[in-house]
């Protein structure tokens, strides 16, 4: 039997993906004794299906606080990446020199133009963007096909290697004295005399604060402490190619050249439930779109294709919620673990530690989904 004191943490973070690792890192940096409980090696993991974008374009077109949150998160990324590099020696490969989102059809172009103008309006013009026609676009990226109608462009966008980001966060966690319980999923939790008791696959643990960052499992796990967080999986299939000579000047929403030189091609949006398998239909469709935009990629070999499940709230915006019934218990749900990582490790971690945090955090309560509130 493990002595009781070994099973006691200031804070338990449920989930060791990009969201959990970032907030756990942020809280450990604030001196908390943090325990991170992670699921198994083959669990659904949005963090391994990530496209790696630090992306502002189009985010929050229909909800101004999300547009502002994304902008704020993107603007702290360069300091965040530099700090991770100096603390861990891991270069997460941040390249924040703009991003393109291609339009192949007129309808796409029209919808995009409207979306961009709404985001700009929500952020009082802080969000900068351009709509580029084919000729302008090809001046900047000559490999683009003349079949492409154009693209939206924002200088605020960028990309990182999401896997190295996760590794850097895990390494920092351990350096700061946090305990990582890998392959030890949390089963349930309860409030007991102002504290929380967390039951994992291997034991029982106590803590003063409890943060659910368990991806899709938040819906089930956070319910133990009175938080209702409706979530839906949305499958994305992704492709990675072999390494090719560098030709992309920056990220695009359709094709991203990684720091290794491989191309990541994304991604599908499929409402298929808890099924992360791949399909021939989607793999061939994604490849066809990539070749349609960049015909010279025809000869490039596919290296890997896989599916992952996005964590989607009903309105697509994040959730930052403290339990009203059990203060000290929190839930975070979002599908922008990369873009928001710097925010999660900074102001959100501060908020979780009981500090004021960031004024925008209060704009994302989970009870906006309650039927009674509607």
């Amino acid at each position: 039997m493990v002595p009781d004191s070994a099973n006691r943490y200031d804070t338990i973070v449920v989930g060791g993906g990009l969201v959990g690792a970032a907030v756990a890192f942020g809280m450990a940096r604030r001196g908390r004794r943090v325990g991170v409980f992670d699921g198994g090696d083959r669990d659904f993991r949005a963090s391994r299906g990530n496209f790696g974008l630090v992306w502002v374009q189009g985010k929050g077109a229909d909800y101004a606080p999300y547009a502002r949150l994304s902008g704020a998160a993107a603007s702290c990324w360069s300091d965040f990446a530099a700090q991770l590099l100096s603390d861990t020696g891991i270069d997460v490969g941040l390249e924040q020199n703009g991003g393109y989102d291609f339009c192949l059809e007129q309808a796409e172009w029209d919808a995009r133009a409207s979306e961009m103008s709404r985001v700009a309006a929500h952020t009082d013009g802080e969000f900068e963007y351009e709509m580029l026609g084919n000729a302008e676009l090809r001046q900047r990226i000559p490999e683009v096909s003349d079949e492409v109608l154009g693209a939206s462009y924002s200088p605020l966008d960028g990309h990182v290697n999401p896997l190295y980001l996760l590794r850097a966060l895990h390494q920092r966690l351990l350096d700061l004295g946090a305990a990582y319980h890998g392959a030890e999923p949390v089963v349930s939790s309860a409030a007991e005399a102002g504290r929380f008791v967390v039951t994992s696959a291997r034991g029982r643990y106590r803590c003063e604060r409890l943060v659910f960052c368990a991806g899709l499992a938040n819906q089930r796990l956070a319910a133990d402490l009175g938080m209702h967080i409706p979530l839906q999986p949305l499958r994305g299939q992704l492709l990675i190619t072999e390494r090719v000579p560098r030709f992309l000047p920056c990220a695009t929403l359709q094709v991203r050249q990684t720091m290794e030189g491989t191309l990541q091609i994304g991604d599908s949006h499929e409402d298929v439930g808890y099924d992360e398998s791949t399909t021939l239909e989607v793999i061939t469709r994604l490849a066809a779109r990539a070749v349609r935009i960049f015909p010279h990629l025809r000869h490039v070999r596919l290296q890997r294709a896989w599916g992952a499940l996005r964590v989607m709230t009903p309105d697509g915006n994040p959730v930052y919620q403290q339990s009203r019934a059990h203060a000290g218990a929190y839930a975070i749900s979002c599908h922008s673990g990369v873009t928001l990582a710097a925010m999660h490790a900074g102001p959100v971690a501060a908020w979780l530690c009981g500090e004021p945090g960031h004024p925008l955090i209060g704009e994302f309560p989970a009870d906006r989904f309650d039927v009674s509130a509607a």
Partner: protein, 100 residues
């Protein structure tokens, strides 16, 4: 590194490796031809330019990758030589496909 057994089928065909015409036994794989020609290494890795040659000869290890008729990274162990076949060793680590 390898030689052909003396009493085996004598037919030879001409192929091109790195732009040089060479004679190799008919009916063998391109990877086998490289061993026959002692064309080592058969590639360099893109990451560190370290020298490599065919390792498993059965399509599993991908060490025998070669540019064949303008198509990069073909498994030489899975391709039969045929008269006039043109192949290039991928010896430049940074520019895959640069030879074509």
């Amino acid at each position: 590194m390898f030689r052909r057994l003396e009493d085996s089928a004598p037919e030879r065909i001409e192929i091109e490796i790195d732009g040089e015409p060479v004679l190799v036994p008919a009916g063998i794989s391109l990877a086998a031809a490289l061993f026959y020609l002692d064309a080592m290494p058969s590639r360099r890795t893109q990451l560190s330019a370290s020298p490599r040659a065919a390792f498993c000869m059965m399509g599993a290890c991908f060490e025998c990758l070669l540019e064949v008729e303008g198509e990069g990274s073909q498994r030489a162990c899975q391709l039969q030589v045929r008269p006039g076949l043109r192949a290039w060793r991928q010896l430049d680590p940074l520019e895959p496909g640069a030879n074509s």
